[in-house]
């Protein structure tokens, strides 16, 4: 057989219908195996994470702790990049995932844009409504502790405070402030708000606000809260001898009188519970709203700051706090394992020393 003949023979072999059919079915089988969900075996969950950030990891830890051990979990790390995140979300869309967990704003946004049909839970997103979240296939757990709950705590810790000051950017936090106004009214508090559209306005706005209020309430607003502004806010409030009610235990540890925040791992556990129910029923079990409040909150007190300000927190409140710091340095005296039940009933008055 000449080389030419051999070539022709090879070609004819390759073009045999049986071989072609075989190749076709082989390819088809491979694709079908790839696209078929793992028939009734373990459930598959995809987790999209915005960035490498400790609270996100804590939430994922809480989430996975609620799932059956055999659950297959694929984690996609966006590393802060939305573009790459969209590509990851496309892959999640084409995967056989039963549920998606999106942790952080960027993860939730790429899930919103690319994942339409898979039940998706998001958490640790600051202002979800401002970003069109949640979409119909989503349910979200809020990062902010509801305003009424925060104000109730504030009133319990500093009962003599009647006028609460709040700085915010109307482009970012109007929705929250509107709810806060209603809550303050119901609790008999006077909410004094000041709008800021530029961080550079902070010194002037803050100095004008502090003499008019009993307590400064800090909320997560990226115009007001920056890495540079936090020390300034805390120090200036101390200068004016005004207590600060913050949004994270870090703030209470470093200069705020008290703070109320979410426990990230607990939020993850809450999401895990929703995922478990979704896997069981095949669809997201809806409560009244697709945006739900965090199940448990975390109260932190700084007794050193309280002492300096002449506040004597009610021992019951101290007992209910998750974290109690003795001074402004990192002196955590105690960390409760269990979250507090309720502060509503604690009415014994502490006093504000002039």
């Amino acid at each position: 057989m000449t080389g030419e003949d051999e070539g022709r023979h090879m070609l004819s072999l390759f073009s045999r219908p049986a071989v072609n059919r075989g190749c076709f079915f082989l390819f088809l089988s491979a694709v079908l195996v790839a696209v078929t969900p793992s028939l009734g075996l373990a459930h598959k969950i995809s987790v999209l994470v915005s960035s490498d950030f400790a609270p996100y990891h804590q939430a994922i830890q809480g989430f996975t702790s609620q799932l059956p051990a055999e659950t297959e979990i694929d984690t996609y790390q966006l590393k802060g990049k939305i573009l790459e995140g969209r590509e990851m979300a496309k892959r999640v869309r084409a995967s056989a995932s039963d549920v998606v967990l999106a942790v952080g704003l960027k993860a939730a946004l790429v899930a919103k844009l690319e994942i339409i049909d898979i039940p998706t839970i998001f958490c640790l997103v600051l202002n979800p409504e401002d970003y069109g979240l949640p979409t119909p296939n989503m349910i979200g757990i809020r990062l902010r502790v509801p305003s009424d709950e925060q104000l109730q705590s504030l009133r319990s810790i500093i009962p003599s405070a009647r006028t609460v000051g709040l700085l915010y950017d109307p482009g970012k936090s109007t929705r929250f402030v509107t709810q806060a106004r209603k809550a303050a009214q119901q609790l008999g508090l006077s909410l004094v708000t000041r709008e800021m559209t530029r961080t550079s306005d902070l010194p002037t706005t803050l100095r004008k606000l502090l003499p008019q209020i009993d307590v400064l309430w800090l909320v997560r607003d990226s115009t007001v809260i920056t890495e540079a502004s936090i020390p300034f806010l805390l120090e200036t409030a101390l200068e004016f001898r005004k207590p600060v009610f913050g949004f994270s235990s870090g703030l209470a540890q470093h200069g705020a009188t008290a703070s109320m925040s979410v426990n990230y791992e607990e939020v993850g556990r809450q999401a895990g519970g929703i995922a478990k129910d979704t896997l069981r029923t095949g669809e997201i079990a809806l409560s009244a709203s697709r945006l739900i409040a965090p199940r448990r909150t975390r109260l932190a007190l700084n007794l050193g700051i309280s002492r300096f300000l002449g506040l004597s927190p009610n021992p019951q409140v101290v007992q209910l706090a998750d974290s109690v710091f003795g001074g402004s340095s990192a002196l955590a005296q105690r960390e409760h394992e269990q979250a507090p039940s309720s502060l509503q009933d604690i009415t014994q008055e502490t006093t504000l020393t002039p």
Binding site: P55, I116, P231
Partner: protein, 679 residues
Amino acid sequence: MTYWLAQCQLRDVTRHLVWLLVLLMPSIAKAAEGTPTPPRLPSNISAFVQEDVQFLQEETVVSAIRREQPISEAPSNVYVITAEDIRQSGATDVPTLLRRVPGMEVMQSTAGVYDVSARGNNQLFANKLLVMVDGRSIYFDYQGGVNWRLLPVTLPEIERIEVLLGPTSALYGFNAFDGVVHILTKDPAEMDNTVLQVGGGEFGTITSAAVYSGTRDQWRYRLSTGLDQAHEWRNRDALAFRAYRGNAQVGYHFTADSKLTLRGGYVATDRYDGPFLRGHRDTSEPSFGYAHVQYTAPRWLIHTWWNRIRDDWDLRSQPPLSDFLSLTDPQGVPRNRGTSHSYDGLAQHTFPLFGTDLTVGANYRHTTVDSNNTNGFQSENRVGLYLQDEWPILSSLRLVSGIRYDLSSGREVTFSPRIALLYRLFEHHTIRLTYSEAYRPPTLSDQHLNVLNTVTIPTMFGPVSTATPVIGSSDVNPEHIRSYELGYQGWFLAHRLRARVNVFYNEISDLISFPGISNPIRARNVGDADVYGGEVGLEAWVTSWLSGFVNGAYQDIDQTITTPDRRRGPEWKVNGGIRLDELPTILHGLSAELAVHYVSAFTQPLHNLFAILAPFGVTAPSERSNAYTLLNVRAGYRFWDDRAEVAFSVFNALNDRHKEHPLGDTIGSRVLGWLTIHL
């Protein structure tokens, strides 16, 4: 930069001192009063509160996609080429990427020259497609067209390329005649600090880029530079083009949604084997510089930009005609040296109106050219005013409307409307009916060109030369397109499969050209063409690691044009691709893409001189270009925590040697190796 950093550090130190003073002042006072000492805050408090701040920082870098719609609601007529598509394609240039969009016409004449248009309206020196980078036109206003080798952007910087087919002047302004290619670059916050990419291989091909970007407080910045080159397809030792690029961008974010961005850059060439026209095949060394200031806010867009194009053409006739035809300026100089400047200003505001958002805008452009081929210095002014709105008529029916009023120097007013009706058949299935018009007024070159075509014919009495002036004219109507389009988009299989179908009918009138059938040869309107056809496409995401696409386009042309300006193009084009990425288990890191482009045979009219000079021994090439199939392959492997990738790509892996224009080079295959590093 060092000075700036030093300033920042100085500011930080000062700031901390001030805080310390603020802190200490009450302490001193209270101590004097015998009251308790205020607690000291830790000096490194910033480090402790970073966690609190990071939630907020997430918000500051998502403004770009804040208003983006989920894929199920995305417009059906916009084709998007993503950064991932670019990476996986192994393409060294944007036109190669555009081949995968159904309805796009891409014609490569030489290693350096691409002509790109849409829906059967392609030509040499194509001038009917608007190309933009970050909202700034890079269309050469003074002579029309785009030089694809002078794109002021490197490939790793590109976030996505949006392609919109059909006349879109009402949305995008001047020159959006056949469609728009909009190149959007990445936000510096989305990029790794440093990206280095180099690709090189056969035919002297080098493509390289170095991009440095970052953020600091409210500032974002990016610097990029690159070198690209390739050798001739017809002579692998001869340089076809070499381009050097440098771009800088700095942006200041006032808020999460409003920012001011400054951009500037320069592209220089020391060789470019074009422009490529019917009669001549020049070589040149063009350069392109720009500056762009852009302010964006939720309801505002204000920008101003400047483009400078410098041309230096060595005018040469097409090789079969070189013994007979010479091209010169009126003084007999066989060069075209000129500089053109375009200055553009645009202000746009969006008002709420009866529950809708009405967008109103004004645009002014001033273009100048100073060339030995255009009677010296020439200039023109253009003013455009536009309105756009979207009306929800029913829950399932929306009307998207826009109209643009244009006034160009010495011309009659033109109105370019665009109306689209979008009807949701049922969830995730939409039909779109669009009517749109656009105009392309004669360019400064169309109006003021002044060159000499000298034809020399050998006779028994010696050579006889006839010089024919080629002269621009202001007495021509703007080119006009009226388009009717019906489109469908549907999503199937849990959004794993997207189907798109479009049919269109375009009435094109008053095409401008310089038909060589008179003396002098003057710019004039040469006739009308009706183009009709359609596109159909499927995109599939089969598994998390396997995706693909297939699409096809058909078009036919009826026309009254009898000169060589006749519209001609392939009737059929079929594209398909398959991609493997993020493979499971041990194959993680491997990726591969295979893309195939089939283009049916077509004819391209040649210069009249080929027929006229046939008795003198000029052999006219066939007007027919055979059908061809391009198979482009790329495979890559990512390692070092996905921060580095090595890859190889093969352009035209089947080595289907073909011509995309009868006078063009025979295009072969080319193998390249790539290395990309993210630091």
